[in-house]
Amino acid sequence: MTSAAWLRERDARAVLLALLAILVGIAVTPSARLPILAVLLIVIAVAGHVSVGPVLRRSAMVLPFALFLALAAIPARGWEMAAVLAGRAWISALYVVVAVESATAPRLFSALARLGCPQPLVTVLQFVYRFVSVLAGVASNIRAAALARGVQRAGRRRMFGVAAGTIAVLFARALGRATRIHQAMVARGYRGQIPSPMRERMRVADGLLIIGAVALVLTIRTQ
């Protein structure tokens, strides 16, 4: 079995628990030892045959927030600590993206529910995953319709007004969509819980993954 297949066959609960251990590790590890966790990430990504481009692109979504917090921290903590703060956030995001790549989002949702995560939170995550592309399509259609009627020639103030209106329309359409989805769920017997047929079984290798992650973090932290 290849290392990539080994990673993808892990129980998603084990992946989440190992990820949690590493995220805690990133938060508490002295900054001088952070590169060890970064190197480990590269090893995991290479072993898992994870595509570097998409991982970097997705993880970059955290950078605006991380950089904002880092800038806010500069007056009190200095440039060096601000850079470390941003670095910790980015490495954390990279680990999360690699974990999602290796376990797939649907298996992670099921794992979250089985680990005791509140059902409403899991449901919201599932719905965001499922419908964000639908809403993005609606937003794209609205933008195309506005451009087709020459909105770009009307000036920035007018465009700002159109953008604000688009958000209102999107909200209304999302509400309408949500109502119809709820009706469709009720029509198939929904009674407040979304049951999952997914049943993964923890194996020895899954336990080793969790223990390995915890041991690694403790080792780096205490050395």
Binding site: A105, P106, F109, Q126, F127, Y129, R130, F131, S133, V134, R177, R180, I181, Q183, A184, M185, V186, A187, R188, G189, Y190, R191, I194, P195, S196, P197, M198, R199
Partner: protein, 229 residues
């Protein structure tokens, strides 16, 4: 023979007071496929939603001898499979297999049994090859087949289909016609698609302003109401 669906004097007003159904009498018998014609806003979808208990108005409605009352809603939803116009409203779970399992699991099936039913229905509807995929990555035809599999997985006695050919290309429409002809359930189909109606219907009714104003052969109604593009 008792009808599988019997509606008498069905009346429904939207919460804002707009009347949607103004006294609908309708029977559906086993083996029948009845097409609902009528202008937009004439009450076809509202009527279909009554069959599944999604909305309840005044009048009498029985489905497979079950009265459409609050205490019977769970049984009613097992009997009537409702296919929505937009499959994106119906397919909300992260994978196709999970979505098709949703109905059987709600009815109390064990996960292994639900997966077995889901696989069977995906096979039946010709969508077995997409069972591990995310619904948002399917074509319109595939989404329609998966949505139908999700409805059939509840083993309904009646199928209520709302504009099932919307967004389907001609080959996908032909494929849907072939599939519907193989399904033994009685069917009520709201549609504007006359060729599709001709291909599947045993008879038709015409809705207008919340009432059934005519019933008969598809071609007779199409001619009477000039219902061709």
């Amino acid at each position: 023979m008792r009808p599988v669906i019997s509606a008498r004097g069905l009346i429904y007003c939207y919460p804002d007071g707009t009347p949607a159904l103004r006294g609908v009498d309708f029977d559906l018998h086993e083996g029948e496929t009845v097409v609902l014609f009528g202008p937009n806003g004439s009450g076809k979808t509202t009527f279909l939603h009554h069959l599944n208990g999604l909305i309840r108005g005044e009048g009498r409605l029985t489905v497979c001898n079950i009265d459409a009352e609050a205490r019977n809603l769970a049984r009613l939803r097992e009997k009537v499979g409702l296919l929505f116009q937009d499959p994106d409203d119906q397919l909300f779970l992260p994978t196709v297999l999970e979505d098709v399992c949703f109905g059987p699991l709600n009815m109390g099936a064990e996960p292994a049994a639900a997966i077995e039913i889901a696989r069977e229905m995906l096979e039946l509807t010709g969508a077995a090859h997409v069972r591990s995929r995310a619904p948002q990555h399917l074509s319109a035809g595939e989404k329609r087949r998966v949505a139908l599999a999700g409805v059939l997985a509840m083993r309904p006695a009646v199928l209520a289909l709302d504009e099932p050919t919307t967004w389907l290309d001609p080959p996908a429409q032909r494929s849907l016609v072939s599939l519907l002809r193989t399904l033994p359930q009685a069917k009520v189909v709201a549609t504007h698609d006359v060729p599709f109606a001709r291909a599947v219907a045993t008879r038709a009714v015409f809705f207008d302003s919340g009432r059934i104003v005519a019933a008969g052969e598809v071609d007779a109604l199409v001619e009477r109401f000039e219902w061709l593009p």
